[in-house]
Amino acid sequence: MTGLVKPNYSRPLDIKHGRVDMSHGSGGRAMAQLITELFAAAFDNEYLSQGNDGALLPQETGRLVMATDSHVVSPLFFAGGDIGCLSVHGTINDVAVMGAQPLYLSASFILEEGFLLSDLKRIVESMAQASRESGVPIVTGDTKVVERGKGDGVFITTTGIGVMRNGVKLSGDLAQPGDKILLSGTIGDHGMAILSQREGLAFSAPIVSDTVALHRLVATMLDSGVELRVLRDPTRGGLATTLNEIAKQSGVGMMLYESAIAVNQPVEAACEFLGLDPLYVANEGKLIAICAPQDAQRLLAVMRAHPLAEAASIIGEVQEDAHGFVQLTTRIGGRRVIDWLTGEQLPRIC
């Protein structure tokens, strides 16, 4: 009889048909199993496999940068990505635009009871892939489960640590009148990818999110020796919001040229249809750079030579303005303010 008992056996997770239940967050065996079979298997790295409550990391020289970002996007899967890779890219980008080299990530999951394990696996694998491709390992994490109806499938919070590059000084308050403003590519792709999918809008061409890790582009830009003053990724609230933040921080105004700001055709069509302004729509793979005027052309060339910024352009310049207005010269030659966003325009996009 004893031959039938396998004292150390537990049935593997039924990822194909299984669902998250309360025991997966209870701290017991089910939770341990979820962590080993799903998370640890996918993220696999030397720090995570230490198996302790925290990760012990090697010593670094230099100042550290830390950033955190919570992701509540709906739908969880969208054209061009999913909540998993988005949560990795978003935090890497926040660290990178500080002028730091991202080193490690943590990931924290809030799962809703009943969530499909197969979906969770897809998300976790997408995170793992994004982390591998970026060379930034996920070294520690946490999982909690909430009752059905108390969450929306899954929420993911990631935190990133990076080390500041020597001699780099970037800050939102460093823009000076005369500086040039550069943008790495088209705007509005992420937000409209989410929204068009959520609203079931079908356009001639699918809208694909631009979610991507920007740290290598940032490194190339910093390596070029150009005097960069401000770097930002215009995520929630879009280009308009980010530029208003910088203008306020630096106590300056800006003048943009509408004709230099590129919008993909299906994004423009979708915005037109929904009455939205692409200037306010979220991006997840674009950055804004502000540099001294004499460096602008060189920086533009450096950016355009990088695959993530082939469509980069100089979109405007910083100017003196006591009111801090961000203005736009429209395609037809008129002028207007690009104001802060009012109200809730697009909830749950990242």
Binding site: Q265, E272, I332, R335, R336, G343
Partner: protein
Amino acid sequence: MKYIDEFRNGKLAKNISANIAREATSLSGYKLMEFCGGHTHAISRYGLVDLLPDHVHLIHGPGCPVCVLPIGRVDQSIFLAREHGVILCTYADTLRVPASDNSSLMRARANGADVRMIYSTQDALKIAREYPDREVVFLAIGFETTTPPTAWAVRQAAFEGLKNFSILCDHVLTPAAMHAILAGESGTALDGFVGPAHVSTIIGSKPYEPFADNYGKPVVIAGFEPLDVMQAILMLVRQINDGRAMVENEFTRAVTREGNLKAKALVDEVFHLRDTFEWRGLGSVPNSALKLRPRFSAFDAELKFGVDYVAVPDNRACECAAILRGQKRPQECKIFGTVCTPDNPVGSCMVSSEGSCAAHYSYGRFRESA
């Protein structure tokens, strides 16, 4: 988007702008009202004022659906949501229209009322089907463009026998409002109208003919693209110079004299005229709004829940009324940009980007700082 780009071409705009500057020679100036909020938005969004000579004035009209919705109508919908526990559905901008006691549908929602933002009337029907045990009320606002979808939804609800669906009908009529403006004191000062775009695709250009024939005011129907508006202004300048008053159509790619016959027939099947309706700014205007015909009265939320309309005066500092009549400009309101901003609208003109105050605040307020 090639098609749209044709109408946003900088070079063409400069040509038209040069023509306007050359031809607008009358010393008494040109006072043109763009009736539609869509035009107000386009004018501000593209900075058209920079392409016009100083003596060609654009005056914003009342054609912004949420702007003309009086407080009492918003109160009515909040009352239904709060006291009758209905699911109140409406379009996004309506949620932020100021109501009595510093309330709005948005604030009512924060306080627990079931208020839902929808994109189309079909969404409201869907909610009604999903919640057969709840009453679902659609707050139907807007000019002639939004009326056919409401009519369609009511007919659909009747066909399906959806007993838990009804509408608060606040649909209003463009020609009646233009009439009210021309009959009022601000009307005589106007030299012409930039006529509505989308509204005209439904009603056609014919309903504007009395404004040319009886009031001697030229009307040029224009599309919503910046070049459309520029071209219409040039056409108006030419009419005024020639002493002509006609209805001309710049938007021939979409507007005919008779309009959309099918849509008009649908609206006529479901709605008929209200004797009178109170507009924000214009006051009570006879035959200026619609209500459901008796055979659809089961879908009339005012009858179903027995809610009467109670008029409520606007905030005392708010100049929306004068602005909607074209008598004042947003910057003449004492609380513009201070107490009243798009984040915290006191009057209805500060709510939607089609409203004069919001458009000026969001796009044009750098002009005052210069």
